[in-house]
Protein backbone atom coordinates (compact mmCIF):
# COMPACT_ATOMS: atom_id res chain seq x y z
CA UNK A 1 0.00 0.00 0.00
CA UNK A 2 1.52 3.30 -1.01
CA UNK A 3 1.45 6.36 1.19
CA UNK A 4 -1.72 8.46 1.11
CA UNK A 5 0.11 11.50 -0.22
CA UNK A 6 1.24 9.67 -3.33
CA UNK A 7 -2.16 8.55 -4.51
CA UNK A 8 -4.26 11.67 -4.00
CA UNK A 9 -4.38 14.50 -6.48
CA UNK A 10 -2.46 17.56 -5.33
CA UNK A 11 -4.30 20.25 -7.25
CA UNK A 12 -7.73 19.65 -5.68
CA UNK A 13 -9.10 22.24 -3.28
CA UNK A 14 -9.54 20.65 0.18
CA UNK A 15 -13.07 20.52 1.62
CA UNK A 16 -13.32 21.97 5.11
CA UNK A 17 -15.60 19.95 7.38
CA UNK A 18 -15.18 21.62 10.75
CA UNK A 19 -12.93 23.84 12.85
CA UNK A 20 -12.65 22.92 16.52
CA UNK A 21 -11.29 25.50 18.95
CA UNK A 22 -9.84 24.44 22.28
CA UNK A 23 -9.66 20.97 23.72
CA UNK A 24 -12.37 18.77 25.13
CA UNK A 25 -13.32 19.93 28.60
CA UNK A 26 -11.86 23.40 28.34
CA UNK A 27 -14.54 26.05 27.89
CA UNK A 28 -13.42 29.49 26.74
CA UNK A 29 -14.33 30.86 30.17
CA UNK A 30 -12.43 29.94 33.33
CA UNK A 31 -11.70 26.34 34.08
CA UNK A 32 -9.15 25.47 31.43
CA UNK A 33 -6.42 23.80 33.40
CA UNK A 34 -5.30 21.63 30.50
CA UNK A 35 -3.29 24.30 28.71
CA UNK A 36 -4.82 23.22 25.40
CA UNK A 37 -7.55 25.90 25.37
CA UNK A 38 -5.87 27.75 22.49
CA UNK A 39 -5.75 24.78 20.14
CA UNK A 40 -7.37 25.20 16.74
CA UNK A 41 -7.98 21.94 14.88
CA UNK A 42 -9.22 21.94 11.30
CA UNK A 43 -10.92 18.84 9.98
CA UNK A 44 -10.79 18.36 6.22
CA UNK A 45 -12.56 15.84 4.06
CA UNK A 46 -10.25 13.29 2.51
CA UNK A 47 -9.23 14.38 -1.01
CA UNK A 48 -10.10 12.37 -4.10
CA UNK A 49 -7.72 9.55 -4.90
CA UNK A 50 -6.05 9.21 -8.29
CA UNK A 51 -5.37 6.02 -10.19
CA UNK A 52 -3.94 3.54 -9.58
CA UNK A 53 -5.69 3.22 -6.25
CA UNK A 54 -3.69 0.14 -5.32
CA UNK A 55 -4.69 -3.18 -3.78
CA UNK A 56 -7.99 -4.56 -5.17
CA UNK A 57 -9.59 -1.11 -5.27
CA UNK A 58 -9.06 -0.55 -9.00
CA UNK A 59 -10.86 -3.77 -9.92
CA UNK A 60 -13.87 -2.80 -7.77
CA UNK A 61 -14.19 0.61 -9.40
CA UNK A 62 -13.68 -0.90 -12.88
CA UNK A 63 -16.36 -3.52 -12.29
CA UNK A 64 -18.75 -0.89 -10.94
CA UNK A 65 -18.12 1.30 -13.97
CA UNK A 66 -18.86 -1.63 -16.27
CA UNK A 67 -22.19 -2.40 -14.55
CA UNK A 68 -23.19 1.27 -14.54
CA UNK A 69 -22.57 1.43 -18.29
CA UNK A 70 -25.27 -1.21 -18.81
CA UNK A 71 -27.62 1.17 -16.92
CA UNK A 72 -26.57 4.06 -19.23
CA UNK A 73 -24.69 5.78 -16.41
CA UNK A 74 -21.09 6.85 -16.10
CA UNK A 75 -18.96 6.63 -12.97
CA UNK A 76 -18.79 10.44 -12.75
CA UNK A 77 -22.59 10.71 -12.70
CA UNK A 78 -22.88 8.28 -9.80
CA UNK A 79 -19.73 8.62 -7.69
CA UNK A 80 -18.81 12.18 -6.77
CA UNK A 81 -15.46 11.16 -5.29
CA UNK A 82 -13.36 8.05 -4.79
CA UNK A 83 -11.35 8.18 -1.58
CA UNK A 84 -8.56 5.87 -0.47
CA UNK A 85 -7.63 6.40 3.14
CA UNK A 86 -6.38 4.14 5.91
CA UNK A 87 -6.17 1.21 3.46
CA UNK A 88 -9.89 1.52 2.78
CA UNK A 89 -11.79 2.37 -0.38
CA UNK A 90 -14.70 4.78 0.05
CA UNK A 91 -17.10 5.60 -2.77
CA UNK A 92 -18.92 8.89 -2.20
CA UNK A 93 -22.16 8.07 -4.00
CA UNK A 94 -24.82 10.60 -5.01
CA UNK A 95 -27.93 9.67 -3.05
CA UNK A 96 -30.35 9.13 -5.94
CA UNK A 97 -28.07 6.44 -7.41
CA UNK A 98 -27.51 4.54 -4.14
CA UNK A 99 -29.90 1.66 -4.91
CA UNK A 100 -28.31 1.16 -8.35
CA UNK A 101 -24.87 0.96 -6.76
CA UNK A 102 -26.08 -1.42 -4.02
CA UNK A 103 -27.70 -3.66 -6.64
CA UNK A 104 -24.48 -3.70 -8.65
CA UNK A 105 -22.35 -4.45 -5.58
CA UNK A 106 -24.57 -7.38 -4.64
CA UNK A 107 -25.33 -8.94 -8.01
CA UNK A 108 -22.30 -8.48 -10.25
CA UNK A 109 -20.25 -11.67 -10.47
CA UNK A 110 -16.98 -9.82 -10.06
CA UNK A 111 -18.12 -7.71 -7.10
CA UNK A 112 -20.26 -10.13 -5.07
CA UNK A 113 -20.66 -8.04 -1.94
CA UNK A 114 -23.05 -10.43 -0.22
CA UNK A 115 -23.31 -8.50 3.01
CA UNK A 116 -24.12 -4.94 3.95
CA UNK A 117 -23.06 -4.40 7.53
CA UNK A 118 -25.60 -1.68 8.20
CA UNK A 119 -25.60 2.08 7.93
CA UNK A 120 -23.77 4.53 10.14
CA UNK A 121 -24.77 8.16 10.50
CA UNK A 122 -22.41 11.09 11.00
CA UNK A 123 -23.44 14.66 11.70
CA UNK A 124 -21.18 17.52 10.61
CA UNK A 125 -23.18 20.62 11.61
CA UNK A 126 -20.58 23.04 10.21
CA UNK A 127 -20.27 21.42 6.79
CA UNK A 128 -22.94 23.64 5.25
CA UNK A 129 -25.20 21.85 2.77
CA UNK A 130 -23.55 18.51 3.56
CA UNK A 131 -24.50 18.07 7.21
CA UNK A 132 -25.60 14.45 7.29
CA UNK A 133 -23.47 11.56 6.12
CA UNK A 134 -24.58 7.92 5.87
CA UNK A 135 -21.88 5.27 5.57
CA UNK A 136 -22.59 1.74 4.36
CA UNK A 137 -19.84 -0.89 4.84
CA UNK A 138 -20.10 -3.76 2.35
CA UNK A 139 -18.31 -7.10 2.70
CA UNK A 140 -17.70 -9.71 0.03
CA UNK A 141 -17.35 -13.15 1.58
CA UNK A 142 -16.44 -14.72 -1.78
CA UNK A 143 -13.57 -12.33 -2.52
CA UNK A 144 -12.71 -11.29 1.06
CA UNK A 145 -13.06 -7.63 0.10
CA UNK A 146 -14.52 -4.58 1.76
CA UNK A 147 -15.78 -1.28 0.43
CA UNK A 148 -17.41 1.72 2.09
CA UNK A 149 -20.18 3.68 0.40
CA UNK A 150 -20.80 7.16 1.75
CA UNK A 151 -23.86 9.26 0.92
CA UNK A 152 -24.06 12.95 1.85
CA UNK A 153 -27.34 14.85 2.23
CA UNK A 154 -28.15 18.34 3.50
CA UNK A 155 -29.95 18.80 6.80
CA UNK A 156 -32.69 20.76 4.99
CA UNK A 157 -33.58 17.76 2.80
CA UNK A 158 -32.39 14.61 4.61
CA UNK A 159 -33.72 12.00 2.17
CA UNK A 160 -31.78 8.90 1.09
CA UNK A 161 -33.37 5.99 -0.82
CA UNK A 162 -33.68 2.86 1.30
CA UNK A 163 -31.62 -0.16 0.21
CA UNK A 164 -33.84 -2.65 2.05
CA UNK A 165 -35.12 -3.82 -1.36
CA UNK A 166 -31.59 -5.05 -2.09
CA UNK A 167 -30.31 -5.82 1.42
CA UNK A 168 -33.37 -6.65 3.58
CA UNK A 169 -31.19 -6.99 6.69
CA UNK A 170 -30.59 -3.23 6.59
CA UNK A 171 -34.18 -2.68 7.79
CA UNK A 172 -33.37 -2.15 11.47
CA UNK A 173 -30.08 -0.38 10.75
CA UNK A 174 -31.89 2.26 8.71
CA UNK A 175 -34.48 2.66 11.46
CA UNK A 176 -31.66 3.20 13.96
CA UNK A 177 -29.96 5.82 11.79
CA UNK A 178 -33.33 7.53 11.31
CA UNK A 179 -33.91 7.43 15.06
CA UNK A 180 -30.55 8.90 16.02
CA UNK A 181 -29.79 11.26 13.11
CA UNK A 182 -33.12 12.03 11.45
CA UNK A 183 -32.06 10.78 8.02
CA UNK A 184 -35.25 9.72 6.19
CA UNK A 185 -34.86 6.54 4.14
CA UNK A 186 -37.39 6.74 1.30
CA UNK A 187 -39.01 3.40 0.45
CA UNK A 188 -38.33 1.79 3.83
CA UNK A 189 -41.23 -0.58 4.74
CA UNK A 190 -41.82 0.98 8.18
CA UNK A 191 -39.48 3.76 9.14
CA UNK A 192 -40.19 4.21 12.87
CA UNK A 193 -38.01 4.77 15.90
CA UNK A 194 -36.23 1.67 17.15
CA UNK A 195 -34.09 2.70 20.14
CA UNK A 196 -35.85 5.71 21.62
CA UNK A 197 -39.50 5.69 22.80
CA UNK A 198 -42.03 6.25 20.00
CA UNK A 199 -43.04 9.71 21.24
CA UNK A 200 -39.47 11.00 21.59
CA UNK A 201 -38.72 14.47 20.23
CA UNK A 202 -35.48 15.09 18.36
CA UNK A 203 -32.60 12.91 17.21
CA UNK A 204 -30.12 12.35 20.05
CA UNK A 205 -26.90 11.60 18.16
CA UNK A 206 -26.83 14.94 16.39
CA UNK A 207 -24.06 17.20 17.64
CA UNK A 208 -26.50 19.97 18.59
CA UNK A 209 -28.69 17.69 20.70
CA UNK A 210 -28.43 18.61 24.40
CA UNK A 211 -26.94 15.86 26.56
CA UNK A 212 -29.47 16.43 29.33
CA UNK A 213 -28.99 15.32 32.90
CA UNK A 214 -29.75 16.81 36.30
CA UNK A 215 -27.59 18.55 38.93
CA UNK A 216 -26.12 16.10 41.45
CA UNK A 217 -26.46 16.86 45.17
CA UNK A 218 -23.91 15.83 47.75
CA UNK A 219 -23.81 16.62 51.45
CA UNK A 220 -23.47 20.39 51.37
CA UNK A 221 -22.56 20.72 47.68
CA UNK A 222 -24.12 20.58 44.22
CA UNK A 223 -22.38 19.93 40.92
CA UNK A 224 -24.16 20.95 37.71
CA UNK A 225 -25.49 18.53 35.12
CA UNK A 226 -22.73 17.06 32.92
CA UNK A 227 -23.57 19.14 29.84
CA UNK A 228 -23.03 22.30 31.89
CA UNK A 229 -19.68 21.21 33.31
CA UNK A 230 -17.73 21.09 30.08
CA UNK A 231 -17.63 22.52 26.62
CA UNK A 232 -18.35 19.74 24.14
CA UNK A 233 -18.63 21.68 20.91
CA UNK A 234 -15.39 23.66 20.62
Amino acid sequence: MSDDNEIVSQNEKPILKDVIKGAFGSPTSAGDTSGFGGLVTTIQAAPAAIRPYGSYFDSIVDALERVLKTNNLTLEQVVERVVVQHDQLTLMVISKHLVTVAQALRDDRELRFEMCMGVTGVHWPNEIGRELHAIYPFVSITNNRRVLVEVVVPDSNPHIPSITSVYPANNWHERETYDFFGIIFDGHPSLTRIEMPDDWVGHPQRKDYPLGGIPVEYKGAVIPAPDNRRNYHG
Binding site: E195, M196, P197, W200, P204, P210, L211, G212, G213, I214, V216, E217, Y218, K219, G220, A221, V222, A225, P226, D227
Partner: protein, 184 residues
Amino acid sequence: MGIEEKLPSGVMLTSVEQLAGYVRKSSLWPATFGLACCAIEMMATGAGRYDLARFGMEVFRASPRQADLMIVAGRVSQKMAPVLRQIYDQMADPKWVLAMGVCASSGGMFNNYAIVQGVDHVVPVDMYLPGCPPRPEMLMDAILKIHDQIQDMKLGKQREKQVINLEVKSLKESPLIELKGLLS
Protein backbone atom coordinates in the same frame (compact mmCIF):
# COMPACT_ATOMS: atom_id res chain seq x y z
CA MET B 1 -54.35 -9.55 51.45
CA GLY B 2 -56.06 -12.47 53.16
CA ILE B 3 -57.84 -13.48 56.34
CA GLU B 4 -54.78 -12.44 58.40
CA GLU B 5 -55.58 -8.81 57.60
CA LYS B 6 -58.97 -9.09 59.36
CA LEU B 7 -57.60 -10.35 62.69
CA PRO B 8 -58.18 -8.08 65.71
CA SER B 9 -54.96 -6.60 67.07
CA GLY B 10 -53.47 -8.24 70.13
CA VAL B 11 -51.31 -11.19 71.05
CA MET B 12 -52.93 -13.31 68.37
CA LEU B 13 -52.13 -10.86 65.55
CA THR B 14 -48.57 -10.35 66.76
CA SER B 15 -47.96 -14.08 66.64
CA VAL B 16 -49.47 -14.34 63.18
CA GLU B 17 -47.34 -11.41 62.03
CA GLN B 18 -44.22 -13.14 63.33
CA LEU B 19 -45.16 -16.35 61.59
CA ALA B 20 -46.15 -14.67 58.30
CA GLY B 21 -42.98 -12.59 58.31
CA TYR B 22 -40.82 -15.65 58.97
CA VAL B 23 -42.47 -17.64 56.20
CA ARG B 24 -42.37 -14.79 53.70
CA LYS B 25 -38.73 -13.91 54.27
CA SER B 26 -37.63 -17.56 54.18
CA SER B 27 -38.89 -18.14 50.70
CA LEU B 28 -38.54 -15.01 48.59
CA TRP B 29 -38.80 -15.53 44.86
CA PRO B 30 -36.82 -12.90 42.97
CA ALA B 31 -37.93 -11.83 39.50
CA THR B 32 -35.09 -11.74 36.99
CA PHE B 33 -34.63 -8.14 36.08
CA GLY B 34 -31.04 -7.97 34.98
CA LEU B 35 -30.53 -4.85 32.85
CA ALA B 36 -26.77 -4.33 32.79
CA CYS B 37 -23.50 -5.30 34.46
CA CYS B 38 -25.15 -5.59 37.92
CA ALA B 39 -27.01 -8.60 36.52
CA ILE B 40 -23.69 -10.48 36.28
CA GLU B 41 -23.10 -9.96 39.99
CA MET B 42 -26.71 -10.95 40.66
CA MET B 43 -26.16 -14.20 38.75
CA ALA B 44 -22.92 -14.81 40.65
CA THR B 45 -24.87 -14.34 43.88
CA GLY B 46 -27.32 -17.01 42.81
CA ALA B 47 -24.60 -19.43 41.69
CA GLY B 48 -22.61 -21.95 43.71
CA ARG B 49 -19.85 -19.82 45.22
CA TYR B 50 -22.10 -17.33 47.01
CA ASP B 51 -25.06 -19.70 47.11
CA LEU B 52 -28.19 -17.62 47.64
CA ALA B 53 -29.97 -20.93 48.23
CA ARG B 54 -28.86 -20.66 51.86
CA PHE B 55 -31.49 -17.96 52.22
CA GLY B 56 -34.19 -19.81 50.32
CA MET B 57 -34.11 -17.76 47.10
CA GLU B 58 -31.81 -19.28 44.51
CA VAL B 59 -34.53 -19.63 41.88
CA PHE B 60 -34.99 -16.47 39.81
CA ARG B 61 -38.45 -16.48 38.27
CA ALA B 62 -38.78 -15.22 34.74
CA SER B 63 -42.52 -14.70 35.21
CA PRO B 64 -43.54 -11.81 37.48
CA ARG B 65 -46.67 -13.58 38.74
CA GLN B 66 -44.55 -16.15 40.56
CA ALA B 67 -42.16 -13.57 42.02
CA ASP B 68 -42.33 -11.27 45.03
CA LEU B 69 -38.96 -9.51 44.99
CA MET B 70 -37.81 -7.43 42.03
CA ILE B 71 -34.06 -6.86 41.98
CA VAL B 72 -33.58 -4.01 39.48
CA ALA B 73 -30.02 -4.78 38.44
CA GLY B 74 -28.74 -2.05 36.13
CA ARG B 75 -29.63 1.26 34.51
CA VAL B 76 -33.24 1.76 33.45
CA SER B 77 -33.60 3.58 30.14
CA GLN B 78 -36.57 5.83 29.43
CA LYS B 79 -37.88 3.19 27.05
CA MET B 80 -37.51 0.41 29.64
CA ALA B 81 -39.35 2.35 32.37
CA PRO B 82 -42.92 1.47 31.26
CA VAL B 83 -41.87 -2.19 30.86
CA LEU B 84 -40.44 -2.20 34.38
CA ARG B 85 -43.62 -0.69 35.77
CA GLN B 86 -45.71 -3.30 34.00
CA ILE B 87 -43.61 -6.14 35.42
CA TYR B 88 -44.01 -4.60 38.87
CA ASP B 89 -47.79 -4.29 38.45
CA GLN B 90 -48.02 -7.93 37.38
CA MET B 91 -46.30 -9.16 40.55
CA ALA B 92 -48.70 -10.39 43.24
CA ASP B 93 -48.81 -8.65 46.62
CA PRO B 94 -46.92 -8.63 48.94
CA LYS B 95 -43.94 -7.54 46.86
CA TRP B 96 -40.65 -5.75 47.40
CA VAL B 97 -38.21 -3.85 45.18
CA LEU B 98 -34.44 -3.75 45.57
CA ALA B 99 -32.59 -1.09 43.55
CA MET B 100 -29.25 -2.78 42.91
CA GLY B 101 -26.29 -0.54 42.13
CA VAL B 102 -26.00 3.24 41.76
CA CYS B 103 -27.65 3.33 38.31
CA ALA B 104 -30.90 1.81 39.55
CA SER B 105 -30.73 3.91 42.73
CA SER B 106 -29.96 7.34 41.26
CA GLY B 107 -28.97 7.13 37.61
CA GLY B 108 -25.31 6.75 38.56
CA MET B 109 -22.79 7.67 35.89
CA PHE B 110 -25.56 7.94 33.27
CA ASN B 111 -26.66 11.47 34.04
CA ASN B 112 -28.24 12.14 30.64
CA TYR B 113 -31.46 12.23 28.65
CA ALA B 114 -31.67 8.48 28.03
CA ILE B 115 -31.64 7.02 31.56
CA VAL B 116 -34.22 7.27 34.36
CA GLN B 117 -32.49 9.04 37.26
CA GLY B 118 -33.33 6.42 39.87
CA VAL B 119 -35.87 3.64 39.57
CA ASP B 120 -37.85 5.19 42.46
CA HIS B 121 -39.33 7.53 39.83
CA VAL B 122 -41.20 4.50 38.50
CA VAL B 123 -41.74 1.99 41.35
CA PRO B 124 -41.56 2.25 45.17
CA VAL B 125 -38.15 1.04 46.34
CA ASP B 126 -37.65 -0.79 49.66
CA MET B 127 -33.87 -1.04 49.65
CA TYR B 128 -31.14 0.93 47.88
CA LEU B 129 -27.86 -0.88 47.32
CA PRO B 130 -24.88 1.28 46.30
CA GLY B 131 -21.88 0.05 44.32
CA CYS B 132 -20.83 -0.05 40.68
CA PRO B 133 -21.52 -2.93 40.54
CA PRO B 134 -22.00 -4.13 44.14
CA ARG B 135 -20.18 -7.30 45.14
CA PRO B 136 -22.33 -10.40 45.74
CA GLU B 137 -21.66 -10.00 49.46
CA MET B 138 -23.23 -6.53 49.31
CA LEU B 139 -26.27 -7.86 47.45
CA MET B 140 -26.65 -10.58 50.06
CA ASP B 141 -26.39 -7.97 52.81
CA ALA B 142 -29.13 -5.91 51.15
CA ILE B 143 -31.29 -9.00 50.77
CA LEU B 144 -30.81 -9.90 54.45
CA LYS B 145 -31.84 -6.36 55.39
CA ILE B 146 -34.96 -6.77 53.25
CA HIS B 147 -35.52 -10.04 55.13
CA ASP B 148 -35.46 -8.06 58.38
CA GLN B 149 -37.99 -5.59 56.95
CA ILE B 150 -40.24 -8.46 55.92
CA GLN B 151 -39.93 -10.13 59.32
CA ASP B 152 -41.01 -6.89 61.03
CA MET B 153 -43.84 -6.17 58.62
CA LYS B 154 -47.17 -5.63 60.42
CA LEU B 155 -50.58 -6.77 59.24
CA GLY B 156 -54.01 -5.17 59.02
CA LYS B 157 -54.54 -2.01 61.09
CA GLN B 158 -51.00 -2.19 62.51
CA ARG B 159 -49.62 -2.15 58.96
CA GLU B 160 -51.51 1.06 58.14
CA LYS B 161 -50.09 2.64 61.29
CA GLN B 162 -46.59 1.43 60.36
CA VAL B 163 -46.86 2.93 56.88
CA ILE B 164 -48.00 6.31 58.27
CA ASN B 165 -45.17 6.32 60.83
CA LEU B 166 -42.59 5.61 58.12
CA GLU B 167 -44.03 8.40 55.97
CA VAL B 168 -43.91 10.92 58.84
CA LYS B 169 -40.34 9.88 59.62
CA SER B 170 -39.17 10.29 56.04
CA LEU B 171 -40.84 13.70 55.71
CA LYS B 172 -38.84 14.91 58.71
CA GLU B 173 -35.52 13.92 57.12
CA SER B 174 -33.51 16.91 55.95
CA PRO B 175 -32.55 17.04 52.27
CA LEU B 176 -29.04 16.01 51.31
CA ILE B 177 -27.94 19.56 50.45
CA GLU B 178 -28.63 20.69 54.04
CA LEU B 179 -26.49 17.95 55.54
CA LYS B 180 -22.91 18.62 56.50
CA GLY B 181 -20.24 16.61 54.78
CA LEU B 182 -16.66 16.89 53.59
CA LEU B 183 -17.67 19.27 50.78
CA SER B 184 -19.52 21.87 52.86
